[in-house]
């Protein structure tokens, strides 16, 4: 497995919506490398015809009838919001004017 580079850190950070200073990126790269190097030991195991286990139980497709039930009121749902307007969560612009 290739070592994690600073570019990899930057790409993964973008995906994770996290920002790091150059020093932090270096430190993270080193730590992630040592963890991944340790994790690489599982690659030695033959697993070609092994099914993955994503979950401890054998439950699948747990459904309920599509019937409406009481839920949070709008006030309850908005109670922890940093900013609201007209019974909506208010956030900074998503789409911006170019130029």
């Amino acid at each position: 497995m290739s070592k994690v580079s600073r570019q990899d850190i930057e790409k993964v950070a973008r995906l994770s919506r996290l920002a790091f200073s150059p020093e932090e990126s270096e430190r993270f790269a080193a730590q992630l490398n040592s963890i991944l190097e340790y994790a690489d030991k599982i690659n030695a195991l033959p697993t070609d015809d092994i099914e993955p286990t994503a979950h401890g139980l054998t439950l699948a497709n747990v459904f309920r009838p599509d019937e409406p039930r009481p839920g949070l009121t709008p006030d309850e749902a908005l109670a922890n919001a940093p900013e609201t307007e007209a019974q909506c969560f208010k956030v900074p612009p998503i789409i911006q004017e170019m130029g």
Partner: protein, 492 residues
């Protein structure tokens, strides 16, 4: 001959409190006051609580006393309990040990908490933890360091360190915690108390703030194995609000407590007794195995060949799930929001960068990497296949034994600061507890001795087949009653 002095109310077991309450020798208000006084005496040194709720606790105690006067009875009615701060309590701040939820007030309650409330338990407050349950020492809490009551310069374990310390110090009669890779069992071992993680799916995860959805499970801490039975009885059982909740009904977990372990077979997996384990830990666990044999249980040789891959597998599966679960903390609808941002991406990024601690960021990065294009097959999918291999190891072992007996932790409580700069060293603390979560088994840790020089608790771990908590508790209770470790108290 003068009778021994009565055990202080704050130090009694659930069973002892129930007796005293049912006989009207005391009231829940008195019991709760005793716990609150104990908290006043020791909390400044232990720092187990993030949020203490004394007035609410006394109100709940009064309500419990009124229910008792009206003729109601129940094992948890009026018993003071603490809750790990990862469990949503309606109307009461729930922080998960993180700045990003520092002021979050849940509009709903975790099912496990609601069931305890219905049973008349008294809630003393919310207990400290590693941020988002990520850690093995509670040093990752954004708010405070919790200290081990047995030695205040040492860690209480993690991530449920506050819960373990509070029970060990007599501040709560019992506490709820959560366990994803050992976060109940390891702090129980470090603090010399009993800690149980039920089979995955036994306890609803509704209202449990998610870290790794296929591994997280709510469980309890207490000072006696028998105390765990009524707590588990109350919180276990199918919940329609959690689609990963097992349909199996909760049996009477204490039905077969009789001290006779004949007919039970147990094994110590040879892969758990490796170089690097503290020799006193090994000696204590082997002595405990001898006690189990004296009680009639039959020892057998077992092997769990894929043990050495457990930590690597866990730190790929759990971090992958965590990276997905923690994506919701973006400042949009609740929690911390970074100020002064001019576009949404900037808001997401700065909120998460400023709101999360280092360990949480590390695990999100690791998980995202393991799931990203080009690495998914090699890391995440591979880890899921190793999980299958580990499940087969245990299935094979359980053809020969009913219980797997191991140390809970390779070492007793280490000093604060010892491992915080070396994440991998910290992760290796979980080597014995992790397999149980990956495979979905029930597990318990209980005290089996103290180290000679520093008098630090050593934990014995028992693992059983899925849904076999009754066997686990029966064996643990028999061992406990045949020894004196459960009577020891920290020198606070």
């Amino acid at each position: 001959m003068t009778p021994p002095p009565p055990i202080p109310l704050y130090d009694r077991t659930i069973g002892q409190l129930r007796e005293a309450l049912d006989r009207a020798e005391t009231t829940s208000v008195e019991v709760t006051r005793a716990s609150l006084e104990r908290i006043e005496a020791v909390e400044a040194r232990v720092r187990a609580f993030i949020t203490l709720t004394p007035e609410a606790a006394l109100a709940m105690a009064e309500a419990a006393d009124a229910r008792r006067r009206a003729g109601e009875r129940g094992p948890l009615l009026g018993v003071p309990i603490g809750l790990k701060d990862v469990l949503c309590t309606q109307g009461l701040r729930t922080t998960c040990g993180s700045r990003i939820l520092e002021h979050f007030i849940p509009p709903y309650e975790a099912t496990a908490v609601a069931r305890l409330r219905e049973a008349g338990a008294v809630f003393l407050g919310k207990l400290n933890m590693d941020e988002f349950a990520m850690g093995s020492s509670t040093e990752n809490s954004a708010f405070q360091v919790t200290r081990n009551p047995w030695d205040l310069e040492r860690i209480p374990g993690g991530s449920s360190g506050g819960s373990a310390a509070a029970v060990a110090a007599g501040m709560c009669t019992a506490a709820l915690g959560t366990d994803t890779g050992g976060s109940i069992r390891q702090p129980a071992a470090m603090c010399g108390v009993v800690g149980v993680k039920p089979t995955y799916g036994r306890v609803s995860r509704y209202g449990l703030v998610a870290f790794a959805s296929s591994l997280d499970q709510i469980g309890c801490f207490a000072r006696a194995v028998a105390d765990c039975a009524p707590i588990l009885q109350t919180i276990c059982g199918h919940d329609p609000l959690d689609t990963t909740s097992a349909p199996e009904p909760a049996p009477d977990f204490a039905a077969s407590f009789d001290g006779d372990l004949r007919g039970l077979r147990f094994g110590l997996p040879k892969e758990y007794f490796i170089e690097g384990i503290d020799p006193e830990v090994e000696a204590a666990v082997r002595a405990a195995a001898g006690t189990l044999a004296d009680l009639g249980a039959e020892p057998a040789e077992i092997s769990l060949p894929h043990t050495e891959y457990a930590v690597a597998t866990y730190y790929l599966c759990a971090t992958a799930e965590a990276s997905s679960n923690l994506a919701r903390y973006d400042g949009a609808q609740y929690g911390y929001r970074a100020r002064g941002t001019t576009n949404i991406i900037d808001m997401f990024t700065r909120t998460r960068t400023e709101g999360f601690g280092a360990e949480v960021k590390r695990r999100i990065m690791l998980g995202t990497y393991a799931l990203s294009a080009g690495f998914y097959d090699a890391y995440y999918l591979k880890a899921l296949k190793v999980r299958t291999l580990m499940r087969r190891d245990f299935e094979e072992a359980f053809r020969h034994v009913d219980l797997v007996v191991t140390p809970t932790s390779p070492m007793p409580a280490f000093r604060l600061g010892d491992k915080i700069d070396d994440p991998l060293q910290m992760y290796l603390c979980d080597v014995f507890t992790i397999p149980c979560n990956l495979v979905g088994l029930p597990g318990i840790s209980l005290p089996c001795g103290l180290t000679r020089e520093h008098r630090l608790p050593i934990g014995l771990q028992l693992l059983a087949r899925p849904f076999a908590e009754a066997t686990l508790l029966r064996a643990a209770h028999a061992y406990e009653q045949a020894t004196d470790h459960h009577r020891l108290r920290p020198p606070l």
